[in-house]
Amino acid sequence: MIKIKNISKSFNGKAVIQEISGEFDKGKTNLIIGSSGTGKSVLLKCIVGLITPNEGNVFYDLRNFTEADKELKSEIRREIGMLFQGGALFDSKNVEHNVMFPLDILTKMHPDEKLDRVNFCLQRVGLENVNKKMPSEISGGMKKRVGIARAIVNNPNYLFCDEPNSGLDPQTSILIDDLIGEITHEFDITTIVVTHDMNSVMGIGEKILFLYKGRKLWEGSNTDIVHSGLSELDDFVFSNKVMQGLKGKPQ
């Protein structure tokens, strides 16, 4: 479980996120949603420690990450897997070495064991016979799947996904969403997904945090998001025609 308490962050005096608190449950896909520029990615980066918040604390299973010393921070980070918006695969390494990278750096596994684990993870994300391909030779959807394989290769306790569907066609987006949901349940990890895609919200949003102008405005699940009664959330949820069709219908 990840808990955040009063997280605030400003850049050059301009507040981007303000006093955000919440809990992200283990074994669930937790979503941070909101329109562009509401501070979703900044909040995610504060949680993983890529940005230091001005105020507030982040707790990983009761361990205070924000105030932790370098050793504890490093220890917690080794329990984290992250899928970046563009995949963030290392250009100079092929698919196999990209996925193997965390094992090379963080473990002392035998090379054969590492290769078995890499092949298992690639198989798990539906990729086979691409081991020797370079990132430039595979599609955007495949890059995302390789990114997921790399994120889970070291058996993380926490999985973070920053806009996993950006730049993907609707079919591949659903595939990636399903994969994230399945992996979360299968390995019982705490997953946090930042997204503004309503398909993802309705598909895998077991717990949802809605951000509006840098503040948390609503918290709930995909079953009650359409009945929140909040005009700001309704504007976000029913911004596309498919969702407008659901408005007023019993869930």
Partner: protein, 244 residues
């Protein structure tokens, strides 16, 4: 001053939270091939022509019957070993290797590859930059030695083919009043230049913010700052090390 302070903090961050020796060894070897072995061709070509041109220019200007012809080789030796091989090659090295370092790191930054390393608990600065600096310190002095040898050989070729100097006179001129301290001086300079070019270029690339345009700007800034640092340190080293 703020930039200099950031640069010093950056250098400090390279030596904390390091990875295993085996990891660095592999990375240093990879970088050495990339920045050293793959630069030999360019360095040899440029140095050979610099040596040839220096010989022709010196011969053209030393036309007094009071000055023996072997002095042409002597002047070429002094210019090449002390200045042309370490300093001019440093400018070429900044353009080829420095720009590649800044561009590579800048691209890694904007495509979140550096963030990916940080999330894994890896000190990205140390993991990415330290091997580049160590490889530069290992390879650049060797490139300077190659450059010096090629320049003297280029001068020999032009001098003997054109008949400006006989092979015997050229060899005599190279050995005439030779002081091995010049080699020591050149190698000290090459170590300093290697450190400055690799660290400044990495610093500029590592802190790139924005997109493709900013990567280009960072690359240009890296080469410019490296060349200025090389020229400035060349002057300071000349003041400090000319003790004889």
């Amino acid at each position: 001053m703020k930039g200099f302070g950031q640069y010093m903090i950056f250098l400090g961050s390279l030596v904390v939270r390091r990875e295993s020796f085996k990891t660095y060894y592999r990375l240093v070897m990879e970088e050495s091939v990339l920045i050293g072995v793959k630069s030999i061709g360019l360095v040899a070509l440029v140095a050979t022509f610099i040596g040839a041109v220096t010989t022709v220019q010196t011969a053209y200007n030393l036309v007094s019957p009071l000055i023996p012809r072997y002095m042409i080789a002597n002047v070429v030796r002094e210019m090449t070993v002390l200045e042309l091989a370490p300093t001019i090659m440093a400018i070429i090295y900044a353009g080829k290797v420095g720009s590649s370092m800044a561009g590579g790191l800048g691209t890694m930054r904007i495509t979140e590859q550096i963030d990916a390393l940080e999330v894994m608990g890896i000190n990205s600065a140390s993991y990415l930059v330290l091997p580049k600096i160590v490889a530069s310190l290992l390879m650049y002095p060797l490139l300077v030695i190659v450059a010096g040898a090629c320049a003297l050989f280029g001068g020999y070729l032009v001098a003997t083919i054109s008949g400006m100097v006989t092979p015997t006179d050229y060899a005599y001129g190279l050995r005439f009043y030779f002081d091995s301290y010049a080699i020591t001086f050149a190698l000290i300079k090459s170590f300093v230049f290697a450190f400055l070019i690799s660290s400044i270029s990495s610093f500029k690339g590592y802190f790139t913010q924005g997109g493709a345009l900013e990567v280009g700007i960072a690359t240009t800034a890296a080469v410019t700052a490296s060349i200025i640092a090389v020229l400035l340190s060349d002057y300071l080293l000349a003041q400090l090390l000319y003790v004889r």
